[in-house]
Amino acid sequence: MNETITRVATDIGGTFTDLVSFEFDPNTGRSRVRTAKVETTPPDYEIGMIDVIRKAGVDLAQIDFLAHGTTVVINVLTERKGVKVGLITTEGFRDTLEIARGNRPDFFNLHYRKPPPFVPRYLRRELPGRMDYHGREMRPLDISPLKRILEEFVDDGVEAVAVCFLHSYANPAHEVAAEAEIRRLCPDLPVVSSHSIVREWREYERSNTTVLSAYVQPVAENYLQRLNDKLTASGFRGSPYVMQSNCGVDSLSATARTPITMVESGPASGIWGAAELGGLIEEPNIIALDIGGTTAKCSLIENGDVRITTDYWIERDRKSAGYPVMVPVVDLVEIGNGGGSIAWVDDYGKLHVGPQSAGALPGPAAYGRGGTDATTTDANLLLGRINSEYFFGGEMEADMEAVNRAVEAVGRKLDLAPMEAARGIVRIANNNMVNALKLVSLNRGFDPRDFTLVAFGGGGGMHAVELAQELGVTKVVVPADAAVFSAWGMTMSDFRRDYIVTHLTDFEPHTADSIEAGFRELEEAAREQFASEGVPRSNLAFKRFGKFRYQNQEHTTEIELGDQRITASRVPAVREGFESAYEREYTYRLDAPVELVGLHLTATAQVGKLSIERRPPSGRDASAAMQATRSVDFATDGIHDTAIYRGSLLEVGMQIGGPAIIEESGSTTVVNPNCSAEVDGFGNIVMSIGI
């Protein structure tokens, strides 16, 4: 009998579909990791998924746990490829979706265009009936108009219905009733109510989230169904889990009901990977940095915990208000700064990098596909940091003539020699990323020197050391297989759901019982939900968090409460926990009452997680992996003759002194002078940073 446990994750990205597979034999303690990469196959993404499984040589019938990550939801949103949605809401509030919050981030621009609502006014309809903020019914719901409304919706080609009523976070009864009636009247029309996605206040954010969920639901459900059918037909015996934005996976059926929770699953899996890696190498405090082709994303992990918030917006930047999606999403900062970010000089001689990207087409000048703009990748090539002879692991020839032309053009506008311009591009790109890293660390009162930087994605290892030096970070880890790290993170994820509800109360000993009751209610709901997915009650682990603030404030600070009961005697200690966290972030405390605004419960169930073995040093010297020496320009660290190592030849325990460069097929790691690198027992490159 085959006792090997096989865990597989497939991650469908815009360009590539990645796979990581772990096989673990509990008898021998041996494990084996395989990775593979194929091109993504739109619009039939499931074909690429089967391809990558075959390419890796994994037997579908032997897979015990299959996690799947996809960008389908965010693609449907950004490409506006969803379905026509009708909205049912509270009398007096059908325009909430269009009024939005009235903000104008681009405030000097008198030609600002407000983002239009996803549902036009004639498809936004009202029902009488009202709850108050305590969840008490002020006026009963009248569902009698629904019949006519739905007939009109159907005539107008509506393909999904969203329901969002005022104060449904406090009492969803009216939404439940309306949803049931809609299902009764139109059994084939997909319908989603706000309370099944969000239990927090703010009616615009909740309405928009519900509408966007309905907008993507039929498309995503169809996708998941095809995927499941294809897997089953190809011999897979289980049901795949789907990666979520909260760093966990969820069942296929639950995801199909409210697929909006997948919206930021790609970045979430990488950040989860960093957290899991931190656990493996005993570094609980991590700054995770994922540098891809068009953006860089970073997130802070304190004590092994990723931070989950519901303050997530799509298409929001300095020029647009964007659209809120109030679902649990890993707290991250994303900036338009990746390998393909374009360097440009404005009319007044200032150099900028990003946020525009050369994308995959035409791509950086080096791709030789007609790109004339210099990108960060081109600057790194010119400086010798990326090997023009081993571009994409030798799979692509770098068009160095095009690189020279592009960087020269930037230099001319700045009155700088090409090499100077290339250094400038790298320094500006680094500075953009440093500012983003400060947002997740210093801005929240964390000292980056107390953290380990885990850098992944195609460009992580390229910039990590310089960023660490800027921030005073002394340890940098570039994970093994950094280029498929998101898929790796997915294989390590748990079955997880975040329950976040608005629960406004004074935080005093006499309110402890009602808070405890609130958490219990959530736990019971979680147990029921998981039980219906076949997860036994005993397999569930809970963690509680409270959202606190001083009375009269609006924004809250989230504090972990462990899994113990909330009792009157615990109140002072929890209050102290809030105040010290508040003081760390904002520099002062107040002599004011504290309020609890929301409850946050995470429920996780491990689904056959693996332990990964640490391998012993091979005892061989790194010179075995050395390929050549070449001159490399380290931007601010001078020009040096630099040893070049082939990543695939590195073995556990090998030590490399800077300056050095480690080349792998999908990524390059730059080891600056005064720094050193060592391959740890898991194959990660661990660097000590000299200042």
């Binding site: 104008r104 000097f108 407000k114 006014r121 400060k438 609006e554 904002y586």
Partner: protein
């Protein structure tokens, strides 16, 4: 590793970091403030000034607060001129427009000098609207005030923290003067935390690159700002432009704008004497309005700093509404700032249509509602600006339901939060579909918002402008609709109001806010038929008006 090089890339990195620091100061204030007018409305701003007080970088927020902090800083520098007057760790405050406060007494400016060793290298500043700073009326703003003494406690540019230690008596005086002392204290500390965070970042930056490089980077940043402005200014049509416009209160305001290759001169000398009430502004306030419009006309996307505004010349006469003389009241300064902003906009719109749209509802529509929260027994005061319609432009219809030009990254209060926090009901928040703003391109819609009072005893104060003369249309587009409230008492008669102070309210009285539709652009009969049909389908206009005004049968 040191980077004490003075190259353009280093300058750029320092300049980006200044912006990041100003943004961080802004975020810290927003997250810790106790008043919704700060954390939602974001009636606040942050900035970094050079040692002489010139604006080096400003945080996000609202345009009307960019260009305030430099003026305050200069007053502090003038007043504290002796050696030892300004020391590391000090924090100063002013709220008085006659002492560098620019706006009105509700807005407290907090300024912190930034030192590296003994050398002053910059200032960090923060301005925010405080809910109550004393004075004759709750919320400190009232139409009844005639002198500034009735509008609250005056802080005439004073030190509040000395070498890191709060000056306790001053803090006590500030706190005791407010009707909401805990909130004022919380908000003031949020402001102090914000400038201290900025201070830390700037010190680190200057230590890393060297003070000389840091200062040179700021200087080159301002030169950059000036270069951008001058270049864009030279693209504007040159000449002299003039406009006189009647106001809701019968007064005639006048502006003359002269645009030359390197100067943008705004002449407001020919204007009425200052008013008896609070509808006046300081000269500094008018300058901010001129800076806002100038920035929008020249280079809305580049950073705003002191250099950006150097080409502006402003002429005013002391003792007029646009240059109030102490001790005139100026609590409603913001409506005046908006009036002059809109006046300049209208004066130029016909001459640069690709840059300027038709008029917008152009009033803060400041709505103040107070009472006792029936569930908590606590006093509440709502201070809310309202959303309204923006004007149509050559490129299309005007935006619907946005804050006025004075505000920017400002958020309205969700009904659910309002009901919980303030103990009243919001019965509707809908688009205003009254007639108005018709044109080839339609003005954006304002809103209709019902507050139903639960508290037994309360009050409402409003001071809206553009209630008689709505947003102006362009090129044959129709004017928009007016801003006003309808007061619908449970007992007694309904009345329409645009200006009222301390009107008593009781349970189940409804305050219905109507904000204006923006001005239309072009002849309504030239409007695309499909757009008219969509408007009818969406219930924005009736089939009858589609026929009458747009000539479209639906």
């Amino acid at each position: 590793m040191t980077y004490k090089t003075n190259d353009p890339i280093t300058h750029e990195i320092i300049q980006n970091s200044l912006q990041a620091a100003a943004d961080e100061m802004f975020a810290a204030m927003r997250k810790t403030a106790m008043s919704s007018i700060i954390y939602e409305v974001l009636d606040m701003g942050t900035g970094i000034m050079d040692p002489s007080g010139e604006l080096a970088s400003s945080g996000a927020g609202i345009p009307a607060f960019i260009g305030v902090l430099d003026k305050s800083t200069r007053v502090i520098i003038e007043k504290f001129e002796q050696p030892g007057d300004i020391e590391p760790g000090d924090v100063f405050a002013t709220n008085d427009p006659y002492y560098g406060g620019v706006t009105h007494l509700n807005d407290i400016v907090v300024l912190m000098p930034v030192f590296v060793g003994e050398e002053l290298i910059a200032w960090c500043g923060n301005i925010a609207h405080h809910s109550d700073v004393g004075g004759m009326a709750p919320g400190s703003m009232t139409g009844e005030a005639t002198v500034i003494f009735q509008e609250g406690l005056r802080l005439p540019a004073v030190k509040i923290i000395s070498r890191g230690e709060p000056i306790a008596p001053v803090m006590e005086i500030i706190k005791v003067n407010s009707r909401m002392p805990e909130v004022l204290e919380g908000d003031l500390w949020a402001a102090i935390a914000s400038v201290r965070i900025g201070n830390r970042r700037l010190v680190a930056l200057a230590e890393k690159y060297g003070t000389a490089t840091f200062l040179a980077a700021i200087e080159s940043f301002m030169e950059y700002g000036e270069k951008v402005s001058l270049r864009e200014l030279s693209k504007l049509p040159q000449g002299e432009f003039e406009l006189s416009e009647e106001q809701d209160n019968g007064a005639i305001y006048n502006v003359k704008i002269a645009i030359s290759e390197d100067r943008f001169t705004v002449d407001l000398r020919d204007n009425p004497e200052q008013m008896k009430g609070p509808l006046n502004t300081s000269r500094d306030g008018v300058m901010v309005a001129a800076q806002m419009l100038f920035k929008s006309l020249t280079s809305p996307y580049s950073p705003a700093n002191g250099g950006s505004f150097r080409p502006i010349e402003l002429l005013t006469s002391e003792g007029t509404v646009f240059h109030a003389q102490e001790p005139t009241a100026l609590g409603y300064y913001y409506e005046l700032e908006l009036r002059v902003y809109d006046l300049m906009w209208r004066c130029l719109a016909a001459h640069m249509p690709e840059r300027l749209a038709a008029g917008h509802f152009a009033s803060v529509c400041g709505t103040f509602i107070g009472g006792i929260h029936p569930d908590t027994g606590r006093q509440y005061t709502i201070i809310e600006p309202q959303l309204g319609g923006w004007g149509a432009s050559l490129s299309g219809d005007g935006n619907t339901a946005m804050f006025c030009g004075f505000h920017g990254e400002t958020y309205n209060c969700p009904a659910e939060v309002n009901e919980a926090r303030n103990g009243l009901y919001v019965d509707q928040m809908a688009l205003n579909t009254q007639p108005g703003g018709e044109g080839k391109h339609h003005g954006g819609r304002g809103i209709i918002l019902d507050y139903r009072v639960r508290s037994k005893e309360g009050f409402v104060t409003v001071a809206y402008t553009r209630s008689k003369f709505p947003a102006w249309g362009l090129y044959g587009g129709r004017d928009g609709s007016p801003n006003y409230i309808e007061f619908i008492p449970k007992r007694g008669e309904r009345k329409e109001l645009a200006e009222v102070s301390g009107l008593p309210t009781t349970t189940d009285d409804v305050i219905r806010v109507f904000t204006g539709i923006g001005g239309g652009l072009g002849d309504p009969r030239e409007r695309d038929e499909q757009l008219v049909r969509n408007d009818v389908k969406n219930g924005l206009i009736t089939a009858e008006r589609a026929r009458e005004v747009f000539g479209v049968e639906c």
